[in-house]
């Protein structure tokens, strides 16, 4: 197993460099660069622009720029943001953290609600409760998350129960730790619900389907026949066998944490990575984009690796090492 993990981590490096190369090429081969917006300003002299061009090494050949960036990466430097004029890492780290808070909250909410709901629906298949759950799942699945967010924001503006956006109240600094937490949760509520509601519906359906398949297996009949109580039959035998596809899904969810939230972040003005990336792409702040892409890439690969490891732990039939 360790050997396998090591192999997978080793493969990560060329994959990430590939992601970086693709992003770089996309950014550089599309017309224009960061300095073009400055060029439009008549107050800035040609010399200044030429100076910056040299400073940012935008005058060098593309391949040189890429290699230069990779070499800097080896020293642990992600480059400078043109737009903010500070090291990329500084901007990204706290934005990443904000996005992570939001993504984690929605992730928790989704899984904690969807899994029990799916199990419950499967056990009560075709009864009224199940039918109700399936009906509302279709409804919520067909609502785009940004639409849910807008409705919730409208509702918040009418009632004033929840804040309309952002991450903290203006008086955040003056609150004690508990109040700060409550404030954060209040700000989290709308984006989290908007992000989760569709995922809950989807995940619930997947869980229900897998559970139904597992419940139809012979070993479930065996378990019942040997006199096990029904809850043990369900949780010990059926659930453990129904969980495989969900673990794989978990890996993808993990990687989607950063990118999936972008739209909601913009609507709810959550200071996360999504809105940062959008501005970065539009202003051609190339190293900021690349660093964000690297974060997404790392999360994607690590998420899938974790899912594969969990899968091997959960299912004895899956072995990665040849013995």
């Amino acid at each position: 197993m360790l050997k396998y993990i090591f192999k997978r981590v080793a493969i990560m490096i060329p994959m990430l460099l590939g992601i970086a190369l693709l992003t770089f090429m996309l950014m550089r081969l599309s017309p224009g660069n960061y300095l073009d917006t400055i060029r439009l300003d008549p107050q800035i002299s040609k010399e200044t622009i030429a100076y910056y061009e040299r400073l940012f090494q935008l005058d060098k050949p593309l391949i040189y720029q890429y290699v230069h960036w990779v070499l800097n990466l080896l020293r642990g430097e992600f480059g400078y943001s043109f737009y903010y004029n500070v090291p990329v890492v500084q901007i990204i780290s706290w934005r990443l953290f904000n996005t992570f808070i939001l993504a984690f909250a929605s992730f928790l909410m989704t899984w904690l609600i969807a899994i029990p709901l799916g199990i419950w629906a499967a056990v009560n298949r075709n009864r009224k409760t199940d039918q109700a759950i399936q009906f509302f799942s279709y409804v919520f699945l067909s609502w785009p998350s940004f639409f849910v967010a807008m409705i919730l924001l409208f509702w918040a503006s009418q009632t004033g129960i929840l804040p309309l956006g952002g991450m903290h109240s203006p008086n955040y600094e003056n609150l004690n730790l508990w109040q700060q937490f409550v404030d954060l949760v209040k700000h989290l509520a709308i984006p989290t619900i908007a992000l989760s509601i569709g995922s809950i519906a989807a995940l619930q359906k997947i869980m229900r389907g897998n559970m139904l398949e597992a419940l139809g297996q012979k070993y479930i009949l065996t378990a019942r026949a040997k006199g096990l109580p029904e809850n043990k039959v369900i949780y010990r035998h059926a659930l453990r066998n129904a969980i495989n596809p969900l673990i794989t899904l978990l890996g993808y969810e993990f990687s989607g944490l950063l990118s999936g939230a972008a739209l909601i972040e913009i609507i709810c003005s959550w200071p996360g990575l999504g809105s940062l990336m959008l501005t970065a792409v539009r202003s051609k702040d190339i190293y900021l984009v690349m660093a964000s892409m690297m974060m997404g890439g790392i999360l994607f690969i690590v998420g899938n690796l974790l899912a594969d490891i969990f899968l091997a732990k959960a299912d004895p039939r899956i072995r990665y090492d040849k013995r």
């Binding site: 297996q217 035998h237 004895p316």
Partner: protein
């Protein structure tokens, strides 16, 4: 009398017609009476689809009866509460036809065996009790103790069926229902399992309800044979008597097909309608006639 089936019925609706209202029924088990004595091997034979497996599941009450009663050790199990029913299921264990799907793939053999033990706190107080019993049972079915930490997919079909049998013996059942338990195995392993079952019967004093479509296997193991056809028992007799002197036309057909590989062409359909009943023609030999 260990087990008594009284007029049990199970019909499956065939959906169809207006608003999927059931228009017809498959009479999987149609008014069956059967007595099983303690220590007796009784076999249920018949073609596929005649209701053998349904009968086995009804005896375990894995599905509800439509009508009739099942008397086990003097108690009517159809009136049991869920808790009593689970207790009853400890006395009657079922070994399924397919050893590939009836063991949970996530459980090691040790866990499979131990799980059932948790239901019987009286007999299995300590871990060492459990381990000792597991090893005893594994030896009894001819498997080695070092196999205990393996998962079902690491065993062959014959080994899995042995595991399933060992597993079913954990709770010291009085009655073992073997639903086509050797049908999916090749002839050599079939023979081994049959010998094993005979030996286990001597060692543990078991009663078998052996369900099979294979008359050759049935002949070796059973004291009595019940022939089932379209949800009814058409003939019931001691093994030798049945093979020597089959009375019902369906039994004759079945025997000639199984022993001589000759199929008899029916000139008319065999009647198992309501007007027929099981009658004792020769002492101990029952047959369904008009």
């Amino acid at each position: 009398m260990l087990l008594q089936l009284k007029n049990i019925k199970k019909y499956f609706p065939i959906a169809g017609g207006f608003l999927k209202a059931p228009t017809r029924f498959v009479k999987a088990v149609n008014d069956i009476n059967l007595d099983i004595l303690a220590g007796e091997n009784i076999s249920l034979v018949g073609e596929s689809g005649c209701g053998k497996t349904t009968l086995a599941r009804l005896v375990m009450l894995l599905m509800p009866l439509d009508s009739g009663s099942i008397i086990f050790d003097g108690q009517d199990i159809t009136k049991f509460s869920p808790r009593e029913l689970r207790n009853y299921r400890k006395n009657v264990q079922l070994v399924f036809q397919d050893p590939y799907s009836s063991l949970d793939p996530r459980f090691t053999i040790r866990r499979v065996m131990k799980e059932a033990m948790t239901l019987d706190v009286k007999n299995y107080k300590s871990e060492s009790d459990k381990e000792a019993r597991i090893e005893e049972l594994l030896r009894a079915v001819g498997l080695k103790a070092e196999m205990l930490n393996r998962y079902p997919h690491e065993f062959s079909g014959g080994e899995r069926q042995r595991i399933a049998i060992a597993r079913s013996l954990v709770l010291n059942p009085k009655l073992l229902i073997l639903d086509e338990a050797v049908s999916s195995l090749d002839v050599i392993i079939q023979e081994q399992i049959i010998q094993l079952l005979k030996k286990l019967q001597q060692d543990f004093g078991l009663t078998y309800l052996f369900i099979s479509h294979n008359l050759k296997v049935v002949r070796k193991i059973s004291h009595k044979i019940a022939v089932m056809y379209r949800g009814k028992i058409v003939e019931l007799a001691k093994t030798d008597e049945l093979f020597k002197n089959p009375l019902h036309p369906y039994t004759k057909e079945l025997l000639s097909a199984a022993i001589n590989y000759k199929s008899i062409l029916r000139d008319k359909d065999i009647d198992v309608s309501k007007r027929t009943e099981l009658i004792e023609k020769i002492p101990g030999h029952f047959v369904l006639i008009n």
